[in-house]
């Protein structure tokens, strides 16, 4: 059984799990929407400040929500030692990583696309730049969260205090991705007269290449006894 076929099987299984446990997805969507709302309450009614920092609030909401969805994606694996069952089938660790990271990426990207309209309404923001730049920054940014997040979620899945450990490990690592994503998304929203967007997307591509290849190598060690 090839790695690609196994990756597809793991991805399909994870998407099915998300679909059949829709209440969990709803909880993540609700949490992220609440976070956006809280930012607007905390900053106050100043439209200019809110719209200028809309990209930052969007990415912070995504980052905080990612901890919930990533942790949940491994809770179902440890619930009945399903992960051990997968290892013993045996599944290639790279397939397991790529399958789970892809499904986490899909969920985060879907969440990001859902939050953008909310962001525009709540913060009176607009898309003055390129919509393509916005979608690309969301896709590359969520990709940069999903891959290392999947590795760390696997590492902390059996640890005591995993809910605290996951953000402690993940947040410092994804700071560069967060900075580049906020910058690219902000340029898409406020306009990009100097055409800086592609450079930030280039930075995100570089981080994504590293973040999707290194964990694939390390994942076997993480999930084995």
């Amino acid at each position: 059984m090839g790695v690609f076929a196994q990756t597809l099987a793991v991805f399909r299984k994870d998407v099915l799990l998300e679909w059949r446990g829709r209440s969990r997805v709803s909880a993540v969507v609700f949490f992220s929407t609440m976070t956006l709302l809280l930012f607007s309450f905390a900053v106050g009614p100043g439209r200019e400040v809110l719209s200028r920092h809309a990209a930052g609030y969007l990415w912070l909401a995504l980052l905080l929500s990612s901890v919930l969805s990533l942790g949940e994606s491994f809770r179902v694996e440890t619930e009945d030692e399903a992960l051990e069952g997968m290892r013993l089938l045996p599944v290639d660790p790279r397939a397991l990583f790529f399958g789970k990271a892809s499904s986490n990426f899909l969920l985060l990207l879907g969440l990001a696309l859902l939050l953008v309209p909310g962001c525009l309404v709540l913060y009176s923001a607009e898309i003055r730049g390129s919509a393509g730049l916005l979608v690309a920054s969301l896709a590359l940014g969520t990709g940069g969260l999903a891959a290392p997040g999947t590795l760390y979620a696997a590492m902390t899945a059996r640890a005591r205090g995993r809910d605290v450990l996951l953000p402690l490990l993940l947040f410092p690592l994804v700071v560069p991705v967060l900075l580049a994503s906020v910058k690219a998304t902000s340029l898409a929203m406020t306009g990009d007269p100097m055409n800086q967007g592609p450079s930030w997307l280039g930075v995100l591509v570089c981080f994504d290449v590293v973040y999707w290849s290194l964990p694939a190598i390390l994942f076997g060690r993480v999930i084995e006894d």
Partner: protein
Amino acid sequence: MSTSPPAVAASALGRAYRDRWALADVYIELAPGRSLLLAGPNGAGKTTLLRLLATAIRPTTGTLSIHGLDARKDPVEARRRLALLSHRGHLYSELSALQNLSTAAAISGREGDLLGLLDRVGLHARAHDAVRTLSAGMRKRLAFARLLLQEPDVVLLDEPYGQLDPAGFGLVDRLIGELQDEGRTLVLSTHLVERGAGILQSGMVLVDGRVTWVGPASGTPAAMAEIA
């Protein structure tokens, strides 16, 4: 004349958790098609031994080979030859019984008649129900179906009668008989020692992580009675 390697060969196998030895100095040599009954009180190390044989955990000491494959060096290849029925079902509770099987089938590359497999363990009528809605006994049956799907050469069964009703006991006896008829190697741990002794060939008693008795399966109940 070529002789095939043992299906299971373990030498000085041991596993420690920090400074406590859960299992130590276990030697096993099982020819293909043979069966072994593991008996012992709670905490004797039966589950640890089965998990070591399944390569679910790494041994602290000793060597293990499955059909000649060094399970420490190449656990992935060894895993292709064996399957473990664990205390835990290795199931996804949100997925249906059929979806659990189809996921395992897609990953192991063993597509087959999955509904037929569910029929074999008496779960055909619940094929599309989420696993979380199944009783503990039904989950055990589903876990057995998952094991059968893998068509393993070496079958490792940890308390296969646990959580089952009398009809389930009969089903497990029948499936074990079929696996033996197919020439598969079996290692089974159970507290129902009399039952296991009636259907298996060799026996081993573990106490506090050490082997205290080895002999024919029929002698296991008497060996267990001595330590009681």
